[in-house]
Symmetry: C2
Subunit: 257 residues, 2 copies
DNA sequence: ACAAAAGTGTTTATAATACACCCATGA
DNA sequence: TCATGGGTGTATTATAAACACTTTTGT
């Protein structure tokens, strides 16, 4: 799709969307022992944003979120959860939006006026395996990247606050979220699982206690040992017992050490 | 204000509000050892609703919620917290709205069309002392009442679901919510506090363990004994140490026995 | 004296925490 | 054989849960 086609398609889209309301997604992944957030960079600027979307008149709000996620990551059946709706008037910044639209090269009155509205935005948190994502940029953005949560770029509007509220939600609701099964590859070691938990909780856990507690839950299936070529005992590999994992999640899987 | 004035005022209000979005409040009180919900009955119908409001163009969303609460209860500085945003298309029901508006006696095209929109609604939970409220009805409603949470009336649209999600939020977040200080009168006995906790958690608590745990927290100030004229030991009266209470709430006050 | 409910104490079971020990592996 | 990290065991402490004992009060 070329630029002009994209622009007219976009104008058709916004005509069919409900005004003043959008969804913004905080897509959380995990790599190099860090939590990662999916971010988009606006063309010719240093501003980044979260993947978002408007809501069509005949579309459920969570479907709107799911669609933008499918578009951006190429994944289906993504786990996502609404965590907060941002409704302060101060979150719109006409000046900043104007400047960005200009740099990006949007001149259409309709589009500019659309973005000048005061928006209420509902935040969704999604958990994905970064290695399975095929990232998709668009006409507004010059790149789409995973950023570590302790090294985030400059965001537009209140997107920084949206991210921090999502991460807090992740931490608070950890015991009720399928963090292990969504953020890790299918097969992993206990060490890797522990590192994930430490990344989320931001504190070190006792190795022995972590292992005993999580094994006792019966949500892990032990596979053969991993041959690393390292100068120490080879760790077992594990995968999740999906059925039991989801059963237990209902009542919360607590293992804060 | 007479009916015609009210109607034209209402039309002016909706002109100044953002379309497609509203706030609905689940106002929670406590009386007769039961949790209570504030409900409004539509004129000439058997349908009840939650107190709600539209959001003005230049108004923060939580301010919109606060305003409807102040109007309905006569209270200021109410504790309230957003808990979920309801965004399914199925939640609008043009037929039901039409029928109700007719019964209520609304004939204005503008008003009817306004209510025919598809709305996204953000739910707020509020905690109040029922004895301090001065309830305020309006031109649409024939009464405003506290209903026990286990004996709720028939609600319009998805308001039943909104209530149950609010109550679940209350239960889940109990340790982070100022339930005692908002729902009870200033002065109370430990028994009364325990009954409140039992009403929220929906399970009986051990008296001895409850007393010891909560006293150890240091959030209660013991007053003189209560003279009941009953054939048993008189209980102490207590009030909250507000400063310490709010300090502890930050990290959660856990005493599920 | 007795019943009823308040206040406090005791016992037991369970879980959290810290850390120690042995094992497997490649250099 | 030594260092490294993996798997498992144990001792200590803290918390939860059940319930027993004593106190106060009006009848």
């Amino acid at each position: 799709m070329d630029i002009e086609n994209f622009k007219s398609q976009f104008q058709a889209d916004i005509k069919n969307s409900i005004p003043s309301h959008s969804v913004d997604c905080v897509v959380i992944g995990y790599a190099q022992e860090k939590l990662k957030i999916l971010t988009l960079k606006f063309k010719n600027t240093e501003f980044w944003s979260l993947p978002g979307r408007f809501i069509e008149q005949e579309e459920d709000m969570n479907v709107a979120a799911l669609r933008v996620l499918e578009f951006r990551t190429g994944l289906q059946n993504i786990f996502l959860e609404q965590f907060y709706t941002f409704g302060n008037t101060s979150r719109s910044d006409k000046k900043q939006m104007n400047a960005i639209l200009k740099k990006v090269g949007i001149s259409s009155e309709i589009t500019i006026n659309w973005f000048k509205q005061r928006f209420i935005s509902t935040g969704y948190m999604a958990l994905v395996d970064v290695n399975k994502c095929i990232l998709q940029s668009d006409i507004f953005s010059e790149s789409i990247e995973w950023k570590s949560i302790d090294d985030l770029p400059i965001f537009i509007l209140d997107h920084k606050e949206i991210v921090s509220k999502a991460v807090r939600h992740l931490r608070n609701q950890m015991n009720y979220l399928p963090v292990g099964i969504t953020l890790l590859p299918e097969i992993f070691t206990l060490k890797e699982l522990q590192k994930l938990y430490e990344a989320i909780l931001q504190k070190p856990l006792d190795r022995g206690n972590f292992q005993r507690k999580i094994l006792k839950l019966g949500i892990l299936i032990r596979l053969e040992k991993q041959l690393l070529g390292k100068a120490h005992k080879a760790p077992y590999l594990y995968k999740f017992d999906e059925k039991r994992y989801t059963e237990l999640l209902e009542n919360g899987i607590g293992f804060v050490s």
